[in-house]
């Protein structure tokens, strides 16, 4: 295999996790190269709901600090909009929301219940029929596509490099170090390696003797034509998560996911299903004034999940110059701070701004080998068509 120009840090995966890491590293003057098998953000990072956050994550406070300044830091617009509103269509949902709101308040965040006048003003598409809504004075939403590209361009502006359409096929090791990354285009030398390959992180880490346990699943979203822009677009409720984009489209998802095996050639097909209609029904129950709006696309994305649904950001014990990083299905919103945490681990060995010990890989040391079956996280047998 011929050697082409490697980098001090090579990152496998051009999703938000890898790209944010690369952007933070490049800003610190580190020579970094991202290797992506397709186009940046082509998997989950460009197919998600754009919701910002995961309130119980140790990375959450730093995320809250960063999002409002990301456009400035990156130099490219992310379409970040602050705050979220939780709508309860039924009294039963309202009871759940009430205790959720109490729980986040206990963590020190501010929530308030909106009266019907406020609802009509702030979220006019939501029906007068709903049981209630909570305004969260934190969190928000952003445009995944713009954010992905913003990280990539921002990283390149700081001297980082990107190789797209280039799959990583293996690793070259010497003793306890990975010294090179084998790709479709040749060998890339590296001092340190970050594996941020989404659902493929498990498979790639396994080749280095320490597998990040994970399973992938497909989830779906729908988007409507643009509607008049509401004051706040980050609305969840009635079993849906999503946002009204700054252009006015309603982009919402939710409902059952489908567990999948990793595809043979590494590329997910991302088909959507008639679940679209069931998402649509819940959307108009919540926003009856949007009933006339037309769905113009639906899509699916494949999501990474660890057995406990929590991220892994850690060094491999088998090859300590390798950092594995996967955010376990809540990676978009947290990406500003996840990239910073991973940068810290790569450069300083430890995260400077949060205690991320709950992300360590060793927590799975005693995991049952058949954990997927035990949790029911297995692909269905396929019923063949006629």
């Amino acid at each position: 295999m011929t050697e082409i120009k490697g980098a001090s840090v090579v990152i496998v995966g051009g999703g938000v996790t890898g790209l944010s890491t690369a952007w933070w590293l490049a800003q610190s003057g580190v020579d970094v190269l991202v290797v992506e098998k397709g186009i940046v953000g082509w998997e989950a990072s460009g197919r998600n709901g754009g919701g910002c956050g995961h309130v119980t994550s140790p990375l959450y406070p730093e995320m809250l600090r960063l999002w409002p300044v990301m456009d400035e830091l990156l130099g490219y617009p992310t379409e970040f909009s602050a705050n979220r509103i939780q709508v309860a269509v039924t009294e039963e949902q309202l009871a759940v929301q009430k205790s959720s709101a109490a729980a986040v308040e206990r963590r020190g965040y501010r929530c308030e219940i909106l009266d019907s006048k406020q609802r009509r003003k702030l979220i006019p598409l939501v029906g007068d029929n709903v049981a209630g809504a909570y305004f969260y004075h934190f969190g928000g939403h952003a445009n995944p596509h713009r954010t992905v590209q913003g990280y990539a361009w921002g990283m390149q502006d700081h001297g980082g490099r990107l190789m797209q359409h280039c799959a990583v096929t293996g690793f070259r090791t010497e003793g306890e170090r990975v010294v090179g990354v084998e790709t479709e285009r040749g060998l890339l030398g590296c001092d340190q390696l970050v594996i941020a390959a989404g659902p493929h992180t498990g498979r790639l880490s396994a080749t280095l003797g320490q597998e990040v346990p994970m399973q992938s699943a497909r989830a779906e979203m729908i988007v409507t034509e643009p509607l008049p822009v509401m004051v706040y677009g980050g609305v969840d409720g009635n079993g849906l998560h999503g946002r009204q984009t700054l252009r006015g489209n309603l982009a919402f998802g939710g409902g059952p996911h489908e567990w999948l095996d990793l595809p043979q050639r590494g590329v997910f097909a991302n088909p959507s299903t008639p679940l679209m209609g069931h998402i649509g029904r819940r959307l108009i129950e919540m926003m009856p004034k949007a009933a006339h709006a037309r769905i113009i696309r639906s899509w699916a994305g494949v999501i990474e999940n660890t057995p406990d649904g929590r991220p892994v950001i850690d060094r491999l014990s088998t090859f300590p110059n390798v950092v594995v990083a996967t955010m376990s299905s809540v990676g978009f919103g947290l990406s500003p701070s996840s990239g910073r945490a991973i940068r810290d681990v790569v450069v300083d060995g430890t995260c400077s701004f949060a205690d991320i010990s709950s992300f360590r890989l060793a927590r799975f040391a005693r995991l049952e080998s058949d954990w997927r079956e035990l949790q029911g996280w297995v692909a269905l047998a396929m019923e063949e068509a006629a």
């Binding site: 490219y76 285009r185 696309r297 927590r363 692909a379 019923e383």
Partner: protein
Amino acid sequence: MKIDEKSVAGKELILQEQTQLLVIGAGPAGLSAAIEGAGRGLSVVLIDENPVPYKTMGDEVPLHYGQGMSGVARNRNAMIEAFVTSEPLIQVAFDAGVDVRLGTACWGLYANGPGVHWLPGTVAGLADEERGWLIGADYVIVAAGRRDMGLGFPGWEKPGVIGATAAITLATRFGALNPRRVVILGTSAEALTAAAALRDAGIEIAAIVEQAAEPVGPDHLVTELHAAGCEFLTHHVVREALGRASVEGVLIAAVDKTGRAVGEERRIDCEGVVLAVGTTPVVDLLAALGCHITFQPERGGYAPKVDADQRSSVHNIFAVGDCAGIWPAKSLDRSIAAGEGLRAVGAILGEDFGSAEVSVPDRPAYDLSAYRMAWVRASVIGARGDFHVCQCEEVTAREILELRPPRYLGWQTDRRNDRSLLSLLDEAPPNPDQVKRLTRAGMGPCQGRRCREQIAALLSLQATAPLADIPLAGYRTPVRPLPLAIASQLRESADQAQHWELWFGIPSQWQPPCEVPEFYTVAADEATIVVDDERGGHD
């Protein structure tokens, strides 16, 4: 083994009805397939979205109607009657026992395959003006026809600038084409047959405009139109469509070999401009399902890969007629499309036709890629002013090629956004979907039907990559804009509704870090699960 109740495992997808054969499209190919299938004992449902309601035409769905329909198109009953009487085989299909449903659109095809295993079989999503539902089918024959490449120039958003397929349909089947005098752009076999058909329907052809040095279609059609008094203006393009409320005329100019306008502009009075520079197969349903679609210039651009039986890469899905490929002989002789329909039914019934009757495209008479790119270079890139290539999202060619953030962001003046298309390229040609994500070009309610071929040509010109190398911009269901109120009628199983979750429903995902145990095992997790009130979404 445990079942994850929050997943699709065990959830039933409820279908409203089931048929052995679903045929989509009641043109010559679909009708012959449906009649043959019913005659040979299959239960057959044949659907066609036509005649589409006036309002839908106004939304440019499924064709580029360019607001060119007259008031006649508002009369639903008259439209249905005209649709049936203008195609005698529809009555034959009724009589043969085909379950014919007009005004019924198929907005999605679904089947198990890579990435989805939970479907009960092949499923189609249907809708009429009031209802939306699912039908299961053992076999599907897609006969979705053709549509036209859009081609922009200043003023092309004016009522009266209309795709050739829409113009022919309105004029010849419904007598509902508003413009009475039109300029035709393009000279392929399809363009010239459109000109002839419009002429026969009493529409005056003011001129036939062609950027190339010579007409590219068959000589006999050129001769016929010449003889009938049509003026051919080769090495010309439309510089602008004029008019207040609608097209009242065009300014045309000569172009040199590089497509640059030279010499004086001339005005031609007309009420319409018919875009006939590129007829292309309607592959939306097939592409969204995951059938293998490749760029095949001899078939009119992106077309499904089909075998000698018209079978697509998905074994129970067939493509017949124009949606499987458009070439001059097929455009001139409908028995070729009809034959494809018969062969597909034969294949479903397990017959072997041998290779004798296989329909094979003509050898292309001109280089389709070069031709389309030349039109876009002369008309779009060479335009004397900015106009919206993507009319829905109002994106200009310059904004596409400079990857400008959409205007609503107000980042227009920031120099940091001067990122040319080339900044995305990396050992591969530009991908229209990536450009769409960044500029919104092709992202609007017409679902890219008016701009995708133009954008592909723009990208190929800018990146100096062959047009054939520009990937097909993705199609996603619903391939027709579908009101939420209609989509929401799809039935849902009680089991699914009961277990519906906003996200994965993994309780430990929402545990605060301080509560995270040192070791995670499934057994320990199950023993400690508490109902927790912070579970939820991405906020």
